[in-house]
Amino acid sequence: MGRDDEEREATKPTEPQSRGEASPDRDTWERTTLAASLKKLPKRKEAFTTLSGLPVDDLYTAADVNSSDPAKLIGFPGEYPFTRGVHPTMHRARPWTIRQVAGFGTAEDTNGRYKYLLAHGETGLSTDFDLPTLLGYDSDHPVGMPEIGKIGVAVDTIDDVRLLMADIPLDQVSTSYTINASAFALIGMYEVVCKEQGVAAEKITGTCQNDILKEYTAQNEYIYPPAEAVRLVVDTMEYAAKTMPRYNPVSVSGYHIRDAGATAVQELAFTLAAGHCYVTEAVKRGLSADFVAPRISFFWNIQNDFFEEICKLRASRRLWARMMRDWVGTKDPRSWMMRAHSQTSGVSLTAQQPDNNIARTAIQALAAILGGTQSLHTNSKDEAFQIPSEGAIKIAVRTQQILALENRVADVVDPLGGSYYVENLTNRLEEEAEALIRQILDRGGMVASIEDGFIQRHIADSAAAFQRDLETQKEFMVGMNIHIDPEEALPFEPFELDPGLAERQIKRTQGIRRSRAQAETTSALKEIKQAATGSDNVMPAVVRAIKAQATVGEMCDVLREVFGTYRGPIVY
């Protein structure tokens, strides 16, 4: 590449490319200056596209920012349609929250990682739960036993959450829980533990992912049929809005959809459509949309196409604002704000030459910041083969600190706003996503489009197309399908789980089952069943059961009896 540029430079004085005057319009420029250049040096490929396959032109000009009044479409930060950011000051007033997700072993193990992260400058917490917890099995259930504490922390009872949050000042540090099918249980447990720490209900902050729809399309950790699961989500939204008004009960997640193979357009569409589904289902229950919409937040995946990701965040804000204001009819400006957590892309990491992942992650993090994220997780370099080691996760945290403190990228609100390319691509992503959302609504909405595999088909096809492009070298992953080191020795700091963790966890849970006031537990579980069978909100009964030391598995089992379980269509 460098060599070609040098040769081109050398020919310049004898073969001037410029006509010596400015072209009056693009057509003239294309016919003269551009045509002359292409004759000597053709484009390096026939067609350029974004990572999502949207065509990318040579150049963008004012003519490509398609609006009669672009300023109106772009607007100002902190005002509808929030293209430039949800807050007027954005990162000038408060930098984004450094929120690394952590979770492994038992509650004590993860609590130790929290403290390590906070000691190194993390400013918010985020929790991954193990598979048995995500799927509503207690640690001593035979199905879950091989997976205890492997990809997240094991939680069976309120005691585990007490240990998980021990010594964490919950009035100062907000915590996010990545849990969905059994989210109702963890939301209740978090509330109880916050109150035990003395945090007033109206001061409780934090987030639960609780976005069940993307489980059926991407992450696959679901228990109940989709319609019943959405009802549970609405229960938690209603409950949180009434009891913990600053808590975000749902973080609608494109992250998993994208890592499962979706394009940026599909990520936008399926995520915003899910958010729309939760709000409209709440309205069907008789709740005001303005009662629930302000506390819905979002979670995006920041992939490798730098500009596309920035534009995706901008487009998501504008489209959500329009959907909430014009489609749903909310009046409260807070209902229109797409507040977001972002995470750099897990699937973009390579197991080969893992140090390269530091560079990938840093550039993706920059895109998230320029796109206006509210909080950020940066992946660790070793995540393509294990739970991150302490050394690797420290580099990931430091990457964000370098961006916050050294690079001055957070000093101007929406610094790329007004770029012809950025505005054009923002418009196109918004249009494409809107068209796909309308298609979903026309075919009966998210639940119907999950049940018949429409969304899964879109994602599987995109994943297969990308794989084909990798194998034919139309797409590149450095170190993996190009610039390969054949004799690579893996620099490897292993992450070791305590081999005794399962035993410790099972012992604790079984001890609680023996010592608790069983009559109270049984009665609270019955109350959950009663509420679920009828149309009452299950959450008050859930909180009662939690206080009576009911387990996540027991509470999920009660709902299994009422709602049944679900297996989605296999689409590949």
Partner: protein, 134 residues
Amino acid sequence: MNIKQPLRVVVAKPGLDGHDRGAKIIARAFRDAGMEVIYTGIFQTAEMITRTVIEEDADVLGLSILSGAHLHFAEEICRALREQAVKDVLVVMGGILPPPDIPKVKAFGVSEVFGPGTPTSKIVDYVRTWQAAR
């Protein structure tokens, strides 16, 4: 017999792990290579997988595990296959495995492990080479 039957491949996801992008990609790749593919979907126990291998008269079993439970399932599934006297089935595995675990799953009976970034063509070639040598 001169007529070559297409290879029958079971692709399975053991345990509670829902990450199925890789399983679906490899199922497609085997199918595109002319093999007969049975993808079990998620949430499979060792017993369910063994039963599918027997009922489908499979030649190859591909396991995809990204949940960190690969040691447990490799051991359990390979043992279940032996106990059911399932012989001559090639067991291959893909997923997120820390490098030191690869020799361990091979000791249980997994023939090869294909980590992140492996071209599907390499996996298809591996299976074909095994078939030719059979």
